[in-house]
Amino acid sequence: MAELLSVRGLRVDFATDRGPAQVLDGINLDIAPGEVVGLVGESGCGKTTLARAILGILPQGAARLRGGEVRFRGTDLLTQDPAVVNEQVRGRAITFIPQDPFTSFSPLFPIGAQIMDLMKWKSPRARGQARPAALFGRYPRARRRADREAVLEILRAVQIPEPARALRRLPHEFSGGQRQRLMIAMALLPEPDLVIADEPTTALDVTIQAQILRLLRELVKARGVSVLFTTHDLGTAHELCDRIVVMYAGQEMEAAPTDAFFGRPAHPYTRRLLDSVPGPDGLIRDIPGEVPSLVAPPPGCRFHPRCDHATAECRVERPAPRALTDGHEVRCHHPVDSPAGGSG
């Protein structure tokens, strides 16, 4: 199975007042072509950091890459020439949908100008052409027209009314939902292989969240585009994703197709997580204990202090990925076999 994206052993540290925080501790992650993968976890588990590390836009001063590889279509992005990655991968093969549509556009330029700037550099019709100079490079008229047509078409696809007039408007003239649709449009215009969406609906009203997500899924499935979709909401993950990866304190715990994830969770943390979603009886079943500090994290499996099944092994060595069934991997020394409902 040729993976589109293959992350192995990714380690990232963040500098803090109290010393380096080990935000990502050897992450493994696979994304197949055309697959929608949900990256699930509590706040602070590192999912945004992972997304940014794959894109290569970690904050330059504070974050330090400690090791690992990010193989995209076979090539390790971390060892490639950064200029090449910036030009050919970012905004081309891998695009981004940010969390906050309210502040992700420059407030001073009409959205048409911003989208066309993107097209000037990242249009699929520009592949293989000579690089124009950044500020004053020419934008060939024929291509510009073709690009504009593509822009209008996709604006219609994301249901922006009157696309031609919309292009002349400033970002603040659009609602949050509309701006996120614009973001989706911009993510798809370069005809990418992978879209990384970082909690794309967190900043929006609950009522339109589902709408936006369904639209996104429709569009990517139609185009065969893969998506890495981070979220802390299990419900949305369930609805949209083909596979789900759950993270805890900088370590990925389990990766499984959606049905298996919700039906037969193997990792104790996953089980606890699923249990903690309030059921019809209204009881809240918290996971006892607290999320560990990443500056002095627990050795081995980082969930062991809060895990009922922890043994000495768990405290010392981080479990290697173990394949259970088709596409279902878990990193645990004592994965649970029985179906969900028995927390044994």
Partner: protein
């Protein structure tokens, strides 16, 4: 349409402010402990002569009446007559205004053209040797006494090296009068010889005046750019692999500049304040030297005239800057 409403609103603020300034200057001018009339009349004047002069100058009427008269005359454009030269102050000021404008504009252009790019680079290369060197320069720029800088530059470039003339604006005949700005006039009339001479005379005064303005501009631009660099839209543009020069010089700079425009008002304050002493140092025939010579001669009317003028100009320019800011930031237009 909204712009007009905004302009009117700002204008409404302008009038009472100007009035307030006039009150203040008037109060100052009449709070003189020594009798200005006696001073003007001279030591040999008899009391009778002093009284006659007092009536002549209108200083014998009650203060509020004097004030109203003052305002009325100002409205007509009459700023009074210099106590010494006996020429209308307004004429004196107008005659000298182009020189000050040329100096101030030159300084402003220099500080903007050099200051903004330096500020951007300083932010991009944060904490580099370049940034630190620039930091030293900008801190110095605000700590150096303008007049002292001018004198030191004179010492080095005029006296020791002989590269620039010592003072003055132009020896000999000025170019054909179109705007009153020698550089512009010389260029327009293709008189490049005069242009060169005028430029050499302008060089040191403009550099002296520009220095603190440059320092301020670099600082503000740097802070603005650093601030904008944290924005989410910059993160987005980086994530989408837009070329760095595009992100910096189009998007970041534009956002940083909206806050810089407000600084232009501050800049003008610095330039105007500096113009007075700079003109004094370089014998630049503008309204600054007029103020200085009036100080030396104790010409109260002239000083007040200068103060009102400088204040009015400053207020007007701030008004324009406010309007410009609404143009620059399209969000303001919508509110």
């Amino acid at each position: 349409m909204r712009l007009l409403a905004l302009a009117l609103r700002r204008l409404l603020w302008f009038v009472p402010t100007l009035l307030g300034l006039l009150v203040i200057t008037f109060v100052i001018s009449r709070v003189v402990p020594a009798d200005p009339v006696a001073l003007v009349a001279g030591e040999t004047a008899t009391p009778a002569q002093i009284e006659a002069l007092r009536r002549d100058l209108g200083f014998d009427r009650p203060l509020p009446v004097q004030f109203v008269d003052y305002i009325a005359r100002l409205a007509r454009g009459d700023m009074g007559v210099s106590l010494f030269t006996r020429r209308p102050i307004l004429d004196d000021l107008l005659q000298r205004l182009p020189a000050t404008i040329e100096l101030t504009v030159a300084a402003m252009v220099v500080s903007i053209l050099i200051g903004i790019p330096l500020g951007v680079l300083s932010a991009l290369w944060r904490n580099s040797a370049f940034d630190h060197a620039l930091r030293i320069l900008t801190v110095s720029g605000l700590a150096i006494a303008g007049f002292w800088l001018g004198i030191m530059l004179q010492l080095l470039f005029s006296m020791r090296l002989g590269w620039t003339p010592l003072n003055g604006r132009l020896p000999g005949y000025p170019p054909t009068h179109i705007t009153g700005l020698y550089l512009v006039d010389a260029a327009l009339t293709w008189d490049w010889a005069t242009f060169g001479v005028a430029l050499r005379h302008l060089a040191l005064p403009a550099a002296t005046l520009a220095f603190p303005a440059l320092a301020t501009l670099v600082r503000f631009t740097r802070a603005g750019v650093l601030d904008v660099m944290q924005s989410n839209f910059v993160l987005y543009e980086r994530a989408m692999g837009l070329p760095r020069p595009l992100i910096v010089w189009k998007y970041i700079l534009r956002s940083a500049l909206t806050s810089t425009v407000t600084q232009i008002g501050l800049l003008l304050g610095i330039l105007l304040a500096g113009a007075v002493v700079t003109e004094a140092v370089f014998d630049w025939p503008g309204i600054g030297t007029y103020a200085v010579s009036s100080i030396v001669l104790s010409d109260y009317n002239a000083i007040m005239g200068f103060t009102v003028w400088a204040g009015a100009i400053f207020i007007v320019v701030n008004l324009l800057v406010d309007l410009a800011q609404t143009l620059v930031d399209p969000r303001e237009r919508a509110t």
